[in-house]
Symmetry: C2
Subunit: 193 residues, 2 copies
Amino acid sequence: MAFQSLLDYINAVVPLTKKEETTLLTYVTKRKYLKGQFILQQGDIAQQECFIVSGCTKMFHSDHSGQEHIILFAIENWWTSDIGSFISQTPADFNVQCIEDTELIQFSYHNIEALFEAIPKLERFFRKIIEKAFVATQKRIVRNFSLSAKERYVIFRDTYPELEQRIPQYMIASYLGITKEFFSKMKRQLLKE
Amino acid sequence: MAFQSLLDYINAVVPLTKKEETTLLTYVTKRKYLKGQFILQQGDIAQQECFIVSGCTKMFHSDHSGQEHIILFAIENWWTSDIGSFISQTPADFNVQCIEDTELIQFSYHNIEALFEAIPKLERFFRKIIEKAFVATQKRIVRNFSLSAKERYVIFRDTYPELEQRIPQYMIASYLGITKEFFSKMKRQLLKE
DNA sequence: AAAATATGTTAACCTATATTAACATCATTT
DNA sequence: AAATGATGTTAATATAGGTTAACATATTTT
């Protein structure tokens, strides 16, 4: 069942007892969204952190001229949320929208402190997954500074081969920080090489 | 004394008992570096996470053509380290170098697990500071995508007015992801407006 | 199956920022 | 105080990537 993938994921980082597993499940909820639906909208306050059981989402910022900038995709066994909004309960900078029908498990702000009281080792679990996410974003900043769009694309393709199959190219362009037109031109150049 | 700034900083997030404070101090070490010295070099494995008591550091990546890309400055009451290298004990992507004489307090990889056993609430402390750092880097990625260099500079200046006084401009240019020459041109344009 | 919508390509032209190189100024060392 | 090194400026030229607009091809919806 759907909760098993979450338990497997957590157990790989901090092993839980059966009792803790049962307790944990009383704190979370399962939810399904359809392709196109928003899990979070910019300006709203994030009430949930989401673990994705199946499907695919994008997190993006809409700038003053209406352009979308994708900063994160998430598929099975990944997490998504505007963490800044969640932890300080302030308006979100980001939208989270489903690009496939998506099933996910939600951790809610209203009871996450109680969950940490109930299962203190989850504090360590969340520390570790945030550490990994932080390292990934820091590396992305450097790559955006030091590499060309073409080099960043090759790294993206090699790092997330599954994603390239599931996601429209104009979204990959947005994730790379370039326009879809330039992305198209770039790929043609790559083929010629 | 120097350790007090660390204790104050931690107590603001997770209040410690006197006993815990004493315990904590047996796990950390104070160290001084001179301007120009490296706290960590790219390729080495980070053994420490550092809390800065006084002074100023830059963390940067040297790319294949030898160019420096600064991804973080740190002054009093900030943290610095290559977290990716520290948590997985792999070669660092970043250098950390002092741009002023710097005094700092080090948390070592070899005893940080023991420290978490001794004072479990530090797990929460580190989770919270990493969360904040993560949010900051994610916002930086969006700004790099959606704003011009001029807009990013104005935000930098407004967010860290102390930093602009202490740090040479060519390093601020590097932090913004532009060349020092373009930074110079940009500032002249800003004055004219 | 036609219409509508979403996705992808191409090409002409444009702009923000990089590169190179020369020079200016300031701080530190001898 | 001269010399050295670190920092900052200017200007000419170059380029990665953006913009606009038209068209092409899938994929859904009716």
